[in-house]
């Protein structure tokens, strides 16, 4: 009986937590580093376009950030076939995955700029 009650409470609190955070998302952009470095995803940009969490989670992406990059098929070819970002970035819903490369691929320079708070560390003279 006691065990059952605990389970119910746990389930309820989990639900409440889920509701409370329904529209919360990580503010900081996520920067993938595999298979290539410096690929940005911004929750903010996508939420401001009016997308909701469940449009991507967990159908295309798990909640855990950068989990997808552990998959072997997390490559551009998969996107062209409609997987991952390619589900929307197909030229119809959003710009096609094989265009505007440097929009998401901010590169090692972009990655370092994010780390340094907006400043590019000049490598060359």
């Amino acid at each position: 009986m006691m065990l059952r009650l605990i389970t119910v409470i746990a389930a309820l609190s989990a639900l409440a937590a889920g509701l409370a955070f329904a529209n919360a998302y990580p503010e900081a952009p996520i920067v993938y580093d595999k298979p290539v470095r410096g690929v940005i995803f911004s929750h903010k940009v996508h939420m401001e376009k009016g997308l909701s969490c469940e449009m991507c989670h967990n159908r295309l992406f798990e909640m855990k950030a950068k989990k997808s990059q552990d998959n072997k098929d997390f490559v551009m070819e998969s996107l062209y076939q409609g997987k991952y970002c390619g589900a929307c970035h197909n030229g119809t819903l959003a710009f096609a995955s094989n265009t505007r490369c440097a929009t998401c691929h901010i590169g090692v320079k972009g990655e370092e700029r994010l780390k340094n708070g907006g400043k590019t560390e000049k490598k060359s003279h």
Partner: protein, 249 residues
């Protein structure tokens, strides 16, 4: 001056025109094409729509004539090329030391994509400034393949070549105690039978295409000589006839 026959004047070449003067002319939309009569006369042409690669690619004096074509819009600054170059050619990990690097250009007002990455390396120019200004002939054009080489035993580290290079493609290597630069991996890969440079080999996006411009069936020749897509070189006004070409798509 009164009886000067302009048709008989010899072009003395643009190599000695100071960079500042060329820039001043470029700001007026003119590229200096020649100096005559000991520098008292200049010839210039409009720079409008002049970024045409064909004039740089008329003749290929070397065989093989090594060249690289950059598909610029494919570059994502993953910097695998730079890592591969460092590992292959033992480039020291110090500030400002590189044989190849990637420049970034942002255009915030652009429609669509707003960022471009531009990979750069030695352009292995047909008329290099660096070899011209080197006081000890430590840097020279290879007579067979046209690669701009370094003889580090002759280099005195005066860095005049760095000043002369319009592409910022040279650095002083503290280990070698000499200037170091890209040589298209001639010693580390090409002479060992590899078909491409370390940077081209490492690129996951097919940005860098390495090949022989003197062969008409090579990818570099086909890209440079087609007219459907624009092909250009960096800093054409320097007049050095570079062998690194840029295109998109």
């Amino acid at each position: 001056m009164n009886n000067m026959d302009f048709n008989k004047l010899q072009n003395e070449g643009v190599e000695n025109v100071p960079m500042q003067e060329r820039r001043d002319f470029l700001k007026m939309g003119l590229a200096i094409t020649g100096i005559f009569a000991g520098g008292t006369l200049l010839s210039a042409v409009s720079t409008f729509n002049k970024a045409n690669a064909a004039e740089f690619a008329k003749k290929y004096p070397y065989s093989p004539h090594y060249s690289m074509v950059m598909h610029q819009d494919r570059c994502i600054d993953c910097e695998r090329c730079m890592e591969a170059c460092v590992a292959t050619n033992h480039v020291p990990n110090v500030h400002g030391a590189y044989r190849t690097t990637i420049l970034e250009k942002e255009t915030p007002d652009a429609v669509g994509g707003k960022r471009e990455f531009i990979p750069v390396l030695c352009n292995q120019c047909n008329l290099p400034q660096c070899t011209r200004v080197c006081p000890t002939k430590a840097t020279y054009k290879d007579k067979t393949n046209g690669i701009v080489m370094m003889d580090i035993k002759k280099c005195i580290g005066c860095l005049t070549c760095q000043e002369g290079c319009p592409y910022n493609a040279r650095y002083f290597n503290e280990h070698k105690k000499a200037v170091d630069k890209c040589n298209f991996c001639i010693d580390t890969r090409i002479s060992k039978g590899e078909k491409d440079t370390a940077c081209a080999h490492a690129c996951p996006a097919g940005v860098r295409i390495f090949g022989d411009l003197s062969k008409q069936d090579s990818d570099v020749f086909k890209t440079v000589h087609q007219i459907e897509k624009a092909v250009w070189v960096l800093r054409p006004e320097a007049g050095t006839r570079p062998n690194v070409f840029y295109t998109k798509g």
